[in-house]
């Protein structure tokens, strides 16, 4: 170790690995993982989202899950929660649609209106 810059490089990389434990994420994608959600393929959707987030190296995105959302007919359901913005709920999500949401909504900031169930502030 010769310089502080070197140390900081290690730190930045290490902080990535510990991101889950810090609460400074820009946006949170919440996947509904109730029984009906799982039956309709929520696990696949979640895996796809996680892959997509990892491939695009989106370091400020958190993927998490929640229980039954009560929208059984529209499962799998995901929420995109962003600080200071409206929470968008998408329904009938497939892995394909999930990829599109990551690309359009998370990266470009444009809501994918075709899949939206509700938008709430």
């Amino acid at each position: 170790m010769k310089t502080l810059a070197e140390l900081r490089k290690i730190r930045e990389k290490a902080q990535q690995e510990m991101r889950l434990r810090q609460s400074d994420n820009r946006v949170k994608i919440v996947v509904g993982m109730g029984t009906s959600g799982i039956a309709m393929g929520a696990r696949e959707v979640m895996k796809t989202i996680m892959e997509e987030v990892a491939n695009r190296n989106l370091t400020d995105v958190l993927v998490t899950q929640t229980g039954e959302k009560g929208l059984s007919s529209m499962e799998p359901v995901i929420d995109v929660v962003e600080e200071g913005k409206q929470t968008v709920t998408y329904g009938n999500i497939s892995p394909e649609k999930a990829r599109k949401i990551v690309a359009e909504h998370i990266v470009n900031g444009k809501i994918v209106n075709d899949f939206v169930v509700t938008v709430q502030s």
Partner: protein, 612 residues
């Protein structure tokens, strides 16, 4: 690259490990495999999270959910519900008396008054990974100091922070460094004193286990300031986990070039190694510790010369406690004024305490200096369990003293506690409820120091033995008039005539209990009665004939057949033969048997007054 979505931190401090956290970890990994989600979830071992009473404990991020009293049988449900379906398990969360469930750690009262400096990363990072320590700003302080500060600047920062030795002595750290720095010598040493020996103390162990790199960085800062090239961690052999973690930390620091030659491109070259002690209490005393490191028998030497002038192999040596070193990196990153902003006039910063005994939340806590004993015991500690009353608190282990209810509003700082007859000490806090016999407690601590005396000074070696004999006499019902005065005389002499801290403080538990609980000594001696019914020779079992149904179960279970009687006449205990095993009381179906203070037979002065 696969992105993880959840971090599970399992507390693997010694308390939780013995409660089974490693088994839980193994089961968790199995379950994750079974559900095919192993690559989404990190399972991480951390150091002590603090609330040892509720162990095994774990934290689940990103939600920040805190689980307590987790058992292997809970793991399946936990994985199924929380990790798969995202429904945190309410029944494993912390609850208070009104059944309020605490989802978040920050809401739990145990953590509310705490400010964590030395324990900042404990229970949050994986102690086996240097990267996690670096991620939270680790080694930034030493990097900054080596690039920008002179040695004198470094010492000045610590002096300004007001940091004092956390091992018990309370000597200003900056001043110690200055002495060491002022010595002209080719070779100097830094020693981390991790010979934590007080019964009921586990602060240093937990810091070493939970955040070893923080202590290592602190040692490097001390080494740079005084100009040392070599450091020793002196850790007792009964702390195997702490030893292996710090050894691993040293290896990792070497790999990254944080130890060795020309660290951060400066002229500072430093290396550290671990020396294990055999666990003698006296080796916590710095001159005895140095003897032990040199390979000699661990006995103290006369001071002066102080180790700062002539220490290991007669080189100037700086000996700092684990917690002192653990505070340093934060003092440099957050600034000395920040640290000095906490605490009282003379005692700055925070102090780690190990809360044990009759207190609800036993565990490891870090509070700012200057909080009162009441806040520490009743707010952070949650008070006394099972509706019992608070009786006394022993601070500073076997070197400290007992304080009573009257002292609960005493501020915790070096001077206030000393004035009250106790000491901050290394931070062991043993809380006692009304069921404790203070004479017996004092005897316990005296037995400990008597056995740990190295034998060099006669007052300590012989005097403590004599005091112990008197204590034994008192607790066995043979106390005589004048015993209390003799204890006081011996104690005072031992304090004055011993070379090291062990002897100088060993009589404190006896002296402080005489000071505050003299009436208990008197009733042991004069009335042959132990009010708390702890000293077996000074209490007896008694069968209440009004309650007794004459079933005879007690008589059949009595190992010495000293319970006689019949269904009609009911039963009674022949006190002379009773060995006080308590079997009868346990088996009685109608709770007719109780413990009564006093001997119960052969009244001393021919009066029946004490016969239950």
């Amino acid at each position: 690259m696969s992105l993880k979505r959840t971090d599970i931190l399992i507390c693997c401090g010694s308390g939780c490990v013995s409660a089974g956290s490693l088994k839980i970890k193994a089961k968790l990994i199995d379950e994750l495999k079974k559900h095919d989600i192993s690559d989404e979830i990190n399972v991480i071992e951390t150091g002590c999270m603090g609330p040892c009473d509720y162990g095994p404990v774990m934290m689940v991020y990103p939600e920040g959910v805190f689980y307590r009293n987790v058992s292997v049988d809970d793991v399946e449900e936990l994985v199924d519900e929380h990790l798969l379906k995202g429904r945190p398990l309410k029944r494993l969360m912390m609850q208070d008396v009104d059944d309020k469930v605490y989802t978040k750690v920050s809401e739990i009262p145990f953590y509310k008054k705490q400010i964590k400096v030395a324990l900042a990363n404990c229970g949050y990072i994986n102690p086996d990974k240097i990267e996690e320590y670096i991620a939270l700003g680790g080694y930034e302080a030493i990097g900054k100091v080596l690039s920008e500060y002179s040695q004198q600047d470094t010492i000045d920062v610590v002096t300004k922070s007001g940091l004092r030795g956390r091992g018990g002595g309370g000597f200003p750290t900056g001043r110690k460094w200055q002495f060491c720095y002022d010595q002209k010598a080719d070779y100097k040493y830094v020693i981390c004193n991790a010979d934590e020996g007080d019964p009921g103390a586990f602060m240093d162990r937990s810091i070493l286990e939970g955040d070893p790199h923080r202590v290592l960085e602190g040692m490097m800062l001390a080494a740079y300031a005084i100009g040392a090239q070599k450091g020793y961690f002196y850790i007792r052999a009964e702390y195997p986990l702490a030893i292996s973690r710090i050894k691993k930390a040293i290896v990792q620091a070497h790999e990254l070039g944080l130890l060795g030659e020309n660290i951060f491109g400066s002229n500072f070259c430093f290396d550290a190694e671990v020396r294990t002690g055999a666990g003698a209490f006296v080796c916590g005393e710095e001159t005895a510790l140095i003897s032990s490191i040199e390979g000699r028998r661990g006995i103290p030497n006369a001071k002066p010369p102080f180790p700062a002038i002539s220490g290991v192999w007669t080189s100037p040596t700086d000996v700092n406690n684990v917690e002192t070193l653990a505070d340093l990196s934060t003092i440099f990153t957050k600034g000395p004024d920040w640290f000095a902003g906490m605490g009282t006039e003379t005692s700055k910063g925070t102090k780690v305490f190990a809360l044990t005994g009759d207190v609800k939340n036993t565990g490891l806590v870090e509070v700012p200096m200057g909080v009162t004993l009441r806040e520490l015991i009743f707010e952070v500690g949650g008070g006394i369990p099972n509706g019992k009353r608070f009786k006394a608190v022993q601070l500073g282990g076997p070197s400290g003293g007992c304080l009573t209810e009257d002292h609960l509003d005493t501020k915790i700082d070096y001077e206030s506690l000393k004035a009250a007859g106790a000491m901050v000490g290394s931070g062991g806090v043993i809380v006692m409820n009304e069921d404790n016999c203070m004479v017996n407690i004092a005897k316990f601590f005296l037995e400990f120091t008597m056995e740990e005396s190295c034998g060099k000074c006669i007052p300590c070696r012989v005097g403590l033995k004599q005091m112990y004999k008197i204590m034994e006499r008192i607790t066995s019902g043979n106390g005589k008039q004048g015993d209390i005065e003799e204890l006081e005389r011996l104690g005072k002499n031992i304090c004055e005539l011993s070379l090291c801290g062990l002897g100088q403080t060993a009589p404190n538990p006896v002296l402080s209990t005489i000071r505050y609980f003299r009436h208990e000594y008197e009733s042991h001696i004069n009335d042959k009665s132990c009010k708390t019914k702890v000293c077996l020779p000074l209490m007896h079992f008694f069968i209440n004939k009004d309650k007794c149904i004459g079933c005879g179960l007690c008589s059949r279970k009595c190992p010495v057949s000293c319970i006689l009687g019949s269904r009609d006449e009911k039963y009674f205990i022949t006190q002379e033969d009773c060995i006080k095993c308590g079997n009868c009381m346990e088996v009685c179906p109608v709770s007719a048997i109780s413990k009564i203070a006093g001997v119960g037979y052969k009244p001393i002065d021919d009066s029946d007054s004490i016969y239950g």
